[in-house]
Symmetry: C5
Subunit: 91 residues, 5 copies
């Protein structure tokens, strides 16, 4: 899984029927401290994430393992909003 920050929404009318009712969020990849990295990702939101939230993204077939995303043509899902990242002192 990778860290990301939700920064926007993607709107589409002409889409695969299995996308209906799924929120597409624009996410910017960040590191474990929340610092922005280069990549942008579009992911389905499975945990009611809001804008500015620090989240975890799952990629690939795993993205279809939530109740919301089962069998949908999507390859990325937000499956957790992060409360905290604890990095050990010696790291």
């Amino acid at each position: 899984m990778i860290f990301a920050k939700v920064i926007g929404t993607v709107v589409s009318t002409q889409k695969d029927p299995k996308l209906t009712g799924k929120k597409l969020l624009l996410c910017k990849e960040v590191d474990h401290s929340g610092k922005p990295l280069e990549s942008y990702h579009v992911a389905v939101d499975a945990v009611q994430a809001g804008e500015d939230d620090f989240v975890l993204l799952t990629y690939g077939s795993a993205a279809r393992m939530t109740d919301l995303t089962k069998d949908a043509p999507i390859d990325a899902v937000i499956m957790a909003v992060i409360d905290d990242v604890n990095v050990q002192e010696s790291a």
Copy 2:
């Protein structure tokens, strides 16, 4: 999912039978504002996308989750034409 712009078509006669009747589109990856990036992708069109359209591409096993692409040997599908990307002001 990643953003792309449809810029052409790919024609093939000698191909796997499961590709028959599927439109192969040449796509250029773009960022969320539509600015061209480096990569090119070939994807099956599942939503009647046209040339110049700003679309979403799904990769991997998820590309076989549309009715059109079920069980086909393809790893990328266009599953949405994008109307709008809303980026929050503070991002």
Copy 3:
């Protein structure tokens, strides 16, 4: 899918039994105009491609979706020989 050019063959005797009878081709990734890129790939040939052919490669689980490659431990397949790539003028 990505574009590639077939540039050679790979010969193996000591291999998984499910590879028997499958042709392993050495492919160089190219762009949509056929210009060579950096990467090399080894793919199973599912469409009787020949050397020098301009082809499409499918990656991942999709590579097992042809009759030839079903259930085999391979992650890349040639599933189309390309006749033509039409790029729109404004692109």
Copy 4:
């Protein structure tokens, strides 16, 4: 599989129900000698790994092949703590 070192933990309350009871560890990718590389990964721990442990990470659908991670929306799992890496002298 890739080598990693466990360097922290990720805490989340608002998450997919299938993540309940799974420990999310922050891992830094390292090479075979344990030297830190650039990438960070978040992985579920399936082998009671502890902080500072030198571990193996499995990616993709394989990450759901442990008893703990079956059917969960996760794309990376720690499935081995490494005792030793033996590199042959001529390498």
Copy 5:
């Protein structure tokens, strides 16, 4: 599939039960001529490869398609020892 050279072994006691009896080999990615590239990979050996062998690695769900690796949490397998790579003259 990618080319690699076997350069060592990885030893683990604390691991997922499905890894028992599977040999984990340290592989260095090479090009088609055997020239070392940058990446290292850990893969399960399904074809009795030995150190210094020039081999093919399969990634992703395909790595579970050998009898040895079925249902195991591994994402890379050695499924062929290479005898020869024939590159056509004009390439």
